[in-house]
């Protein structure tokens, strides 16, 4: 029901409470229950009484201030019960209460840049953003729904639908650590679009430093308005108005001398002024190199090519600068892992040249070559993560002594082995290809020639990945109970070994069959995904600070008969993922067997520096892009209304309080005042 002055009465039946007005008048017309007092005579009181109405049960309505105040209170309460709502000045002033329940979606930026300390309060951007989010949660009331989307490399969603949930959500938000990494705002907006509740007033609040990129089309089609609340960026909090970061640190073996490690360091300057900063290289706690570098402003960078100290297992590059984000002023790199977490590969080949080279470049790989006619003891094979047979094939006895979870790569297995053949293809040409198979990721076989290849007969448990007219060229599937990939053609008879596709193909095969080594470094917030060694039941990851986390390694199912190569492979490859990489530093990984005994360990480094996240400057287009987000047509009208009953009730209570003060305060004063005394009347007698 719409009324004057832009008021809407959401509950007109509340006007029924106006019956309280005659009730109040009736109440005031009643004589209050008087105190009974004995007196010696009534004659003088009767003479003093002019108003006989007091002798009746009711009297005329007294036009007293008390009655008027009570009538005003009843009127205010009755008006409040009608739930008057307005979209005018009251709503803008914030004195009113929202009429509709709200769905508050808080997009909390947890990216690496939010670790910058450039807020007026001296806290990090993330802490300031978290405080703002907590304040928003405090404003919610019963019936509202709150969703917090914590943005980092990964997106975490927290939700609460009632008052208790709001408290729990606030507590959880206070304890949560920033995930770090790059904030995927587009992914978060996509998720938000699915989270919108049509029945509620959806409000999206992005609390961020603004150093985000957004797809304007995605924002425009979100279906809810987005409010951008920026934090940080206060100038003058640090000497440098901007950030200097080590955005890249990598290593590779020096050409011609694999024992020497070449380091590539990139230092970027995101401040508006050019800076000259000293960059140091530390290995084993000793400063090995120092160089002053002048970097251009506005995102300019300088690359340093250094040689790592010989024998260094870990190096740290640091830039000495006082900027808002100290996390990215240093970066570390693990040059040499512990030996027991390297990728141990046994290559059984008489001509291992190409295969050995392709296998050796795998990160952490240590390749052992053995001729095909040599002995192959079962005890020795248990130490290898991958066994490669080149132009050879294990016989049934050898298969029996191999470990149950051994991974096999058979390259051009000769006929007569455990794989049945039916003739040969002289010059096979590629006819079929399973493009989505992980083995072919990044593999382009066009132009590749294949030499004479046996026609292998594959059973139902095996999957052809690359096929020719007469039979498969590459296929995968269990062999003797072991994971196996078979490359049917002979690389030595093919031109593939002269193409970059060959090491990629071998790397894909190794990635699918063998445990992956720990990376030398992981970007901040990026999850660590790797496959522990065979026999590992638990991978224990210890962060730089805090308690270690045990990750269970799913046991492989040798009897898995799934025909989906992707899922079958994933199930059998026993990957573990560790996502809590939001803190820069060195993480230690220990693999444990089922009995809890350590099988080995390794380390990886999480570096904060990133070409995007280290740039603390806000995206100037972000606000404009988010401003295009509009609410749906249904939510718009209700969203602007403000309920006015709280100020009305407050006014009624204020009047009551004033009435109490007026009535009760003088009573105390009266109680303290001395009682009046009777004045003796003049005595007259006859003699006067």
């Amino acid at each position: 029901m719409s009324g004057p002055f832009g008021l809407d009465l959401l509950a007109p039946l509340g006007l029924a409470a106006l019956v309280g007005i005659p009730a109040v008048i009736l109440f005031h017309m009643r004589h209050t229950t008087p105190q009974t007092r004995p007196v010696p005579t009534l004659r003088f009181w009767r003479a003093a009484m002019l108003d006989e109405s007091e002798q009746t049960a009711f009297r005329r309505p007294p036009l007293s201030l008390l009655l008027l105040l009570h009538l005003l209170i009843v009127a205010l309460l009755a008006f409040g019960l009608t739930r008057p709502a307005t979209s005018g000045a009251w709503a803008a002033s914030g004195l009113g209460l929202r009429t509709e329940p709200r769905h508050e979606i808080l997009l909390l930026d947890g990216s690496t840049s939010m670790a910058a300390i450039d807020t007026p309060s001296g806290e990090t951007r993330f802490e300031a953003a978290r405080r703002i989010a907590l304040d928003r949660l405090d404003d919610l009331r019963e019936g509202d729904v709150a969703t917090v989307v914590l943005m980092g490399t990964r997106v975490a969603t927290l939700e609460a639908t009632d008052a208790g949930g709001f408290v729990a959500l606030s507590d959880r938000l206070r304890a949560i650590a920033p995930p770090g990494g790059r904030a995927g705002l587009n992914a978060a907006l996509n998720l938000t679009k699915d989270l919108l509740l049509p029945s509620l007033d959806d409000r999206v609040v992005l609390v961020s430093d603004g150093a985000l990129a957004v797809d304007p089309g995605l924002a425009a089609g979100l279906g809810a308005p987005v409010e951008l609340v920026t934090v940080g960026g206060e100038t003058g909090t640090v000497p440098i108005d901007g950030n200097v970061a080590i955005t890249e640190l990598a290593a590779s073996a020096a050409p011609g001398d694999p024992a020497r490690q070449q380091l590539f360091v990139r230092v970027a300057n995101f401040s508006p002024e050019p800076v000259t900063v000293p960059v140091t290289l530390t290995a084993g706690g000793i400063e090995a190199l120092r160089e002053d570098v002048t970097i251009a402003p506005g995102g300019g960078s300088e690359r340093l090519d250094w040689e790592a100290p010989t024998g260094a297992a870990e190096v740290t590059v640091a830039v000495a600068v006082d900027d808002p984000l100290p996390d990215d002023d240093a970066a570390s790199l693990i040059l040499r892992q512990d030996t027991d977490l390297t990728l141990q590969i046994l290559l059984v080949s008489d001509a291992p040249r190409h295969l050995r080279r392709a296998l050796a470049v795998l990160p952490g790989a240590e390749v052992t070559t053995q001729p095909t006619d040599g002995p192959l003891a079962g005890g020795d094979t248990a130490a290898y993560d991958l066994i490669v047979y080149d132009n050879a094939v294990p016989d049934a006895d050898q298969l029996a002594v191999l470990p149950a979870n051994a991974a096999l790569l058979l390259v051009h297995p000769p006929a007569g082995g455990p794989i049945a053949t039916r003739g040969e293809m002289v010059a096979p040409t590629l006819t079929t290809l399973v493009a989505y198979d992980p083995l072919l990721e990044g593999v382009d076989l066009s132009g590749v020639t294949f030499g004479q290849t046996p026609v292998y007969e594959i059973d139902a448990t095996q999957t052809e990945v690359v096929g020719a007219e007469a039979g498969p060229l590459i296929f995968r599937g269990p062999l003797g109970g072991k994971d196996a990939v078979v490359i049917g053609f002979d690389p030595n008879a093919s031109n593939i070994v002269q193409r970059p596709v060959f090491p990629i193909l071998i790397a894909n095969v190794a990635a699918q069959l063998a445990p992956s080594p720990l990376p030398a470094s992981v970007p901040l917030g990026e999850p660590l995904v790797y496959r522990p060694r065979i026999g590992a039941a638990v991978a224990r990851v210890a962060p730089p600070e805090g308690e270690p986390t045990d990750l269970s390694v799913a046991a492989g199912d040798p009897d898995d008969t799934s025909t989906d190569p992707a899922t079958a492979g994933a199930d059998r490859l026993r990957s573990v993922a560790y996502a809590d990489t939001g803190r820069p530093g060195v993480y230690r990984v220990t693999e444990l067997d089922a009995g809890g005994e350590p099988l080995g360990g390794g380390r990886f480094v999480v570096n904060a520096g990133h070409p995007t996240e280290s740039d603390l400057r806000p995206n100037p287009d972000l606000a404009a892009a988010l401003a295009t987000a509009q609410a749906g047509s249904d939510a718009g009208a209700a969203a602007t209304l403000a309920d006015l009953w709280p100020p009305l009730v407050a006014a009624a209570l204020l009047i009551l309080a004033l009435e109490w003060l007026v009535t009760a305060w003088p009573r105390r004063r009266m109680a303290l005042a001395p009682a009046p005394r009777a004045t003796p009347l003049p005595v007259r007698g006859r003699g006067d």
């Binding site: 004589h31 105190q35 009573r667 009777a678 005595v683 007698g685």
Partner: protein, 337 residues
């Protein structure tokens, strides 16, 4: 301090003192004994005064209009037939050659009648810390009676409610002081009263006039109704004194009512103690002003009526001490000397 009382009279309850040899003297509180020895000592020095001489009665300590044979010379008169020859003053006959009879003054006793209002309206007080009007009136009547008995006057104490209650006396002599006070202590309120009728009836049935002292709150009837009985008393030779006992709360009015929140007047239901009639009112300032005006008018009417009938009118408030202020006022008004 002990009161000297003739043995074997037991120490009465109206006197403060010890119930045992070692009992401490209790503090004076409401409802304590009517008299103490200090007051009695003051009373013993007083004498009840009459505004006119009395021609009747037996010999006493008060001057009389009667002439007799006492040694106190009063006057001469010419001899007339029938006069006692023995009273002829022969020395005067020798000087003046005329017969003159020597007259002597005869002192007579007083008949003191204490009419004590024992109606329910007297059993009221506006302040719990003070005495009721009835207690104050008993104390005053006791004082006057004690003075009279101490001077060998004949005393009658007549409490009355709707009717005259059993009276004390006539009694005479100091030995009757204690029984008088004991009798006063046993008195209780007697309900309603009709003061003019009581006065009228009391004067009609007594042949020998005397001094009548009415102790009352005078709330029975209008002031004009009191004029008739007082006139009747005077006509019959009585000397009347009206002692009007009032409570200070009666004069103010406000203490009789309630006070609401904020010190504002609260509605009260007043119940008349004698009739039980009720009246609801809110003691606002105008109401209280009219009440006080009515009280003042009433008091002025009482004063005027008493003055018109030659009656001594004395108004006493219950917060005035009997020992000092009241006795002084009685003395100033010629009630006691």
């Amino acid at each position: 301090m002990r009161l000297s009382l003739p043995s074997p009279i037991r120490r009465p309850a109206f006197l403060p003192g010890r119930t045992g040899a070692d009992a401490p003297v209790p503090a004076r509180t409401v409802g304590d004994a009517l008299f103490d020895e200090e007051l009695l000592g003051r009373l013993r020095r007083l004498v009840l005064m009459s505004q006119k001489t009395i021609a009747q009665g037996l010999a006493g300590e008060h001057r009389s209009r009667r002439r007799g044979s006492s040694p106190e010379f009063a006057d001469f008169k010419s001899y007339s037939q029938g006069d006692d020859f023995r009273r002829i003053d022969w020395n005067t006959y020798a000087r003046l050659d005329g017969l003159f009879v020597r007259l002597s003054e005869v002192t007579t006793e007083f008949n003191v009648h204490l009419l004590l209002d024992a109606s329910n309206s007297m059993d009221w007080r506006g302040d719990d810390r003070g005495p009721t009007k009835f207690a104050y009136a008993r104390r005053l009547a006791g004082a006057l009676g004690y003075v009279s008995l101490w001077r060998f006057d004949r005393v009658v104490l007549a409490p009355f409610g709707a009717e005259l209650a059993p009276r004390f006396g006539p009694a005479q002599g100091r030995a009757q002081a204690v029984p008088l006070l004991r009798h006063l202590e046993t008195l209780a309120p007697l309900g309603q009263t009709d003061l003019p009728a009581i006065l009228d009836a009391y004067a009609r049935v007594r042949r020998r006039p005397g001094l009548v002292i009415l102790v009352s709150d005078l709330l029975s009837g209008e002031p004009a109704d009191l004029g008739g009985p007082l006139r009747e008393l005077r006509a019959r030779g009585w000397q009347a004194t009206v002692v009007h006992v009032v409570d200070p709360a009666e004069l103010l009015g406000a203490p009789m009512t309630g006070v609401g929140p904020g010190g504002r007047p609260a509605p009260s239901e007043l119940i008349e103690v004698e009739s039980g009639e009720k009246l609801r009112l809110t003691p606002t300032d105008p109401v209280l002003s009219r009440y006080r005006a009515a009280i003042e008018t009433w008091l002025a009417e009482l004063d005027a009526v008493c003055a018109a009938e030659g009656t001594t009118y004395l108004r006493l408030q219950t917060d005035w001490p009997v020992e000092t202020l009241v006795l002084q006022m009685l003395h100033e008004r010629g009630v006691v000397g």
